[in-house]
Symmetry: C2
Subunit: 251 residues, 2 copies
């Protein structure tokens, strides 16, 4: 049976301050938990009868079999799953990102947990190892965001840092791309795979300071190009198309 | 002041059966409402002081100024906006879709309103006029879905039909593409722009019957190609990359 302390702890993990003070985050569902077990230290795992740990992962020190009812009580999901686990956040090594010879994603202020999760999945699919975020970006260890990554967080390093500082130093070594309405047509540009690509906030795009640190600018053309649409693309969709195009050119 | 009947009507528009029996749907927020006013008949519009109808649209017959408090009471959104409107659903002309010489999207059972909205926005951005959906696909006039289209619904025709019937007839005229794990690398395939591209359900992909009606199969390769990832791409992200690649090849 889950102790009162455990129930309280799970609830507290919705709180960002609490997560970082304790370096802990919550994940639910076997898809997500099983992936994270491969890459994060698990400090507690509660599961219903029938769930089995995947092969080749270290058994969590603290593991408990509970009823569906108990799991439902603590779950933050609308449809509770068969397993819930608490993992240790890895120490943030924001300045240790190797930039040369690869593609890195930078995020300036994305707010929606679903969008952030989508971007982590895109990074995973396209083999981008690092995502560097401004402090104002939604916390990837937010339970909704962990859920939206569908376990991809196990294979992508997400760091929070002073983004302007990071880009100032990055722009001396590699190309720093952004997408703007007056950028070059991405499909007609020879892309440099030695690069950081910056994506901005859902409503406001990237901040003026960050923009001034980007040395290349791209646009995803609408079709036909002359067509006027008042529409813009969702940041997850823009990231998919941009990162996909980098990978197409360097396949 | 909003009458009891109006308040009741707005609430009922969350219900699919009610929407179709009355051929009405709800939209909120000036971004969304102002776009839809250009293309759908508006039967009722309620707005707060300060909202102005955009230029060039027909004034709704029934228009009312209300307080923020009143709007908040009926709003289905967590953060209510300054305007809310009820529009007439256009008659469904599922079999009237012209297929030759263009790209059409087909949807087989997408369930998430956010994903469906994203696909409508992608269609709008890339100039895809028609989306043909199976009856089991989430209703695009669902208020959450309308919201997620951000007004793109004004420029894209979404129809519901017997998808297998539709594809049977379509496959005699144009290429019918799907994405599968054993498909051809999309970046190395010469795509036929005279085509229907089918996207499937979030968990189960496309149904066996629909799959048998597709005559071309594509894969979005992960990077590097050999890399094993247990991850898959979200359907909105897959649609973005696939439709983007069609447009790149036919720019």
């Amino acid at each position: 049976m889950l102790s009162k302390n455990k129930i309280k702890l799970v609830g507290q993990l919705s709180n960002k301050k609490f997560r970082y003070e304790n370096s802990l985050f919550l994940a639910e569902g076997h898809k997500c938990v099983n992936e994270l077990l491969k890459s994060f230290e698990c400090v507690f795992l509660a599961h219903t009868e029938g769930y089995e740990l995947p092969d080749g992962v270290r058994k969590p020190k603290d593991i408990e079999t509970v009823t569906s009812q108990e799991l439902k009580q603590v779950s933050l999901l609308e449809t509770p799953q068969n397993v819930l686990a608490i993992f240790r956040i890895k120490p943030n090594a924001g300045n240790g990102v190797k930039l040369e010879g690869k593609l890195t994603i930078a995020i300036d202020g994305v707010q929606d947990a679903g969008n952030m999760g989508t971007i982590v999945r895109i990074a995973d699919w396209f083999g981008v190892e690092d995502i560097v975020c401004s402090f104002g970006t939604v916390d990837v260890y937010n339970p909704k965001c962990v859920q939206a990554t569908m376990g991809a967080l196990a294979r992508v390093n997400v760091r929070y840092t002073d983004l302007a500082e990071f880009l100032k130093s990055a722009s001396e070594k590699v190309s720093v791309y952004t997408t703007t309405l007056d950028g070059s047509n991405i499909y007609e540009s020879k892309l440099d795979n030695n690069a950081v690509v910056v994506f901005g906030n859902e409503g406001n795009g990237i901040s003026r300071e960050v923009r001034s640190l980007c040395n290349r600018s791209l646009i995803i053309p609408s079709f036909p190009k002359e067509r006027v649409t008042s529409e813009s693309l969702n940041v997850g969709v823009a990231a998919a198309i941009v990162i996909g195009e980098f990978r197409r050119q360097f396949k």
